[in-house]
């Protein structure tokens, strides 16, 4: 094929996009349409809990427009990392929406679901075979960490997408995927070389973010044998050589070297040229094949959380805030222990907005100049009842603990809410962030087909 055109509707399924941009994109007769579904960016909760990062309503709106457009022009619709984290519940949530839209709109197609959740026994086996490596700044994996994970996903490359399309799928919904993989899979399946195919994927996975002004919008990318041409479909957004070059900085540890399943995309020698006032051609990217590895992502439960929000406008308290918070902690420890919750059973975190609530240990300003300070007081404990109990005691200490020179003897804090104590969702952490070497890129990612 001389040129293969891919249309991405936005940076994430459920972010929304203007319908006119989709229409403009479809008028260019793309060979496929897709959108990235996921990210680790919103934190570990979504992978751990099985919840989707974007709302069902927002995802359904985007999916309906995309499905109708794809079926009308008989092109594949391909979505990776469904529902955010790309685990089984996330994939099933998106699949249920797609089936519902098909029923409501009378659409018929062959649907492929590509699963990405990994069996713990299989992960342990890979660990024993010494095929698992920690990514930078991550501890080595062990059996106990695998056991504690509530969910582990593998991040698939392009091959499972290619297989699903080869086997006749019109709509491909996949669990966790490398963000560029769906696009790279479609372009290399059309016999285009991996370097421009992967580069196209790196751009398309963020929608029109590579254009100026940035926004959640549609991007059309044409891939040929030597490069790619990028163009945003909304007339207000322009791809310029500068905007496109700079997009390589986004969420990457390096703008030049991108490690992907099966190889390395090297963009060090890319050239960026304007082909019109709104489209840019990029060439000079290289792809080096490497041993095939897949990233594993897992999350574990760390406990149950309750928070309260409050603030002080008292300059005497602000001047002695560090000592005051030490007193609060000491009082909480004594009071909680009195009702049987020893300090090893919970974590108390007090965030001080106006001082170092944003940067914590990285905050270079030692002394706040703020006339008011805001606090988020948080307790994480092994069950919700315990978290609520310790948080309630912490709230009382914030309100009533004495400090030297105190004039505000009725209360130290302004609380904006009643109830002031808020149970939040269970707290998770990313616990698995490793690569595993595999021989068959499709083996960990089984595909199911159904006729819708």
């Amino acid at each position: 094929m001389q040129e293969y055109r891919l249309l991405s509707t936005s940076g994430l399924l459920g972010y929304g996009f203007p319908e006119a941009s989709l229409d403009a994109g479809m008028a260019r007769e793309p060979h496929m349409i897709g959108v990235d579904g996921g990210s680790t960016d919103p934190g570990p909760y979504y992978l751990g809990s099985g919840k989707c990062v974007n709302s069902r309503m927002a995802m359904k709106r985007d999916l309906r427009l995309m499905l109708r457009a794809a079926r009308k022009q008989r092109i594949p619709m391909v979505i990776g990392s469904c529902g955010g984290a790309g685990g089984e519940p996330h994939l099933q949530t998106v699949a249920a929406i797609v089936r519902e839209i098909a029923r409501e709109d009378g659409l018929h197609f062959r649907l492929a679901l590509i699963h990405a959740e990994q069996d713990k026994a299989w992960v342990k086996e890979q660990l024993r075979k010494d095929r698992v490596k920690a990514l930078r700044n991550v501890q080595p994996l062990d059996d106990k960490t695998i056991d504690r994970a509530t969910r582990i996903v593998g991040m698939m490359g392009p091959e499972p997408f290619q297989r699903a399309l080869d086997e006749g799928a019109d709509v491909v919904l996949a669990g966790r995927s490398s963000d560029p993989a769906p696009w790279a899979g479609c372009a290399t399946r059309a016999q285009l070389p991996p370097a421009p195919a992967w580069y196209a994927g790196k751009m398309l996975e963020c929608g029109a973010t590579a254009a100026l002004p940035k926004g959640h919008d549609c991007l059309l990318t044409s891939v040929d044998r030597s490069g790619v041409v990028l163009e945003a479909m909304n007339p207000i957004r322009l791809c310029t050589p500068f905007s496109v070059a700079n997009h390589s900085l986004h969420e990457n540890s390096s703008p030049c070297f991108h490690i992907e399943p099966g190889g390395l995309l090297d963009t060090s020698d890319c050239t960026f040229e304007a082909v019109s006032d709104r489209a840019v051609r990029v060439s000079g990217m290289r792809w080096t094949q490497q041993p095939y590895t897949v990233k594993l992502e897992g999350a574990e439960l760390v406990g149950y959380r309750a928070i309260t929000i409050c603030g002080t406008r008292d300059p005497l308290l602000i001047s002695t805030i560090d000592d005051f918070l030490v007193s609060v902690r000491e009082n909480v420890a004594v009071k909680a222990e009195a009702f049987g919750v020893t300090p090893d059973k919970y974590k108390l975190v007090i965030r001080t907005y106006g001082a170092n609530g944003v940067m914590s240990a990285w905050e270079p300003v030692a002394q706040t100049q703020s006339h008011e300070l805001g606090f988020v007081v948080e307790v994480i404990a092994e069950n919700q009842e315990m978290a609520n109990a310790v948080l309630a005691i912490a709230r009382v200490q914030m309100l009533h603990v004495d400090f030297p020179g105190r004039l505000c003897k009725e209360g130290n804090m302004a609380f904006p809410y009643s109830p002031s104590d808020i149970e939040t969702a269970p707290a998770y952490r990313f616990s698995v962030f490793h690569t595993v070497a595999i021989d068959d890129p499709c083996a960990p990612f089984p595909i199911e087909y159904e006729t819708v």
């Binding site: 909760y45 540890s253 974590k347 990313f430």
Partner: protein
Amino acid sequence: MARIRDIAKACKSKNAGPFEVTIDVVFDDRALFERVRKTGILCPALFARLYKVRPEDVLFTEYPAGNAFKATLPRLIASGDIGDTDVYGAQQHAPLLDIEIPV
């Protein structure tokens, strides 16, 4: 002397995965990028000092194609773990804004 906040086109931070934060300083044109580069102020040691990490833990890239400097640092606390203050890593750039560059 000019502060980064007065001469940069962008100064921004973001997660590069849950265990690292990446910080970009971007300039408008190649000439200014080259002048800044020649001063040598933007370097791993600067980021190590500002963010209290070891210089060898700073992955630093000069990126002429984007008129940009990039530093990727290990997070002290992983995104969303207990005590993390910035799940997206989007507000960790401020210490750079007042760095003075002799251009």
